[in-house]
Symmetry: C2
């Protein structure tokens, strides 16, 4: 059944922390993803970045060549592969976010979003 993160998650696009603001914006648009996993050169998850971060950078006049290390959020809120739908809905609501990576051993395996979870709970209204 589609009850845990591992069964529901979809691929999460990844980007290195030394990449630029403009590269992150391009990847968000091209992938149509709500969130990107930011990786260190050792491929470990070190942050996330969303359209909100791009918008805030634009609001403060950040040059688009700026490395995303300063723009990303490094305190990552994530799910475990075994988390169930209810736990994940509550977590997204508690932190007022709409997506999070599914993480195992410091690696991003996929993403969970409120859209995906709503589909599991509100099916065919």
């Amino acid at each position: 059944a589609d009850r845990i993160a591992e069964d529901i998650m979809i691929p999460i696009p990844t980007i290195y922390s030394h990449s630029t603001l403009r590269e992150a914006a391009s990847l968000l648009i091209e992938s149509s993803s709500p969130i990107l996993a930011v990786l260190s050169t050792a491929d470990e998850l070190v942050g996330v970045i969303t359209g909100w971060d791009i918008t805030r950078a634009t609001a403060t006049g950040t040059p688009d060549s700026q490395p995303i290390q300063k723009i990303m959020t490094s305190e990552v809120i994530s799910a475990r592969p075994s988390d169930n739908v209810l736990e994940m809905i509550r977590k997204l609501e508690h932190y007022e976010i709409s997506a999070m990576p599914v993480v195992e051993k410091g690696r991003a395996k996929g993403l969970i979003s409120s859209d995906l979870l709503a589909r599991r709970t509100l099916m065919r209204l």
Copy 2:
């Protein structure tokens, strides 16, 4: 009861179409709103703008002094004050958007978002 747009909507921040990309980004961040109503100088609704549009502008290297007329979406998807919860959920899902203005006589009266509607349907999971 909180069954129609007029009862559920929250204030929608507004911005003029001659304003800049940077001003729109600042207003999105300061208001914490998912969407802005873009107005003509006659205060009529002529478009909407969201973090997605800001992100796409950044992805294509648009200067932050650019007027938002070229960046906004002018084909606005909106709700009427009398629309009910189910109609609005279906509309947001159909167009794959997460918010829309509530419009009456060409004027934006407020906004409806999937978060607001989810609260009405999924209350206290």
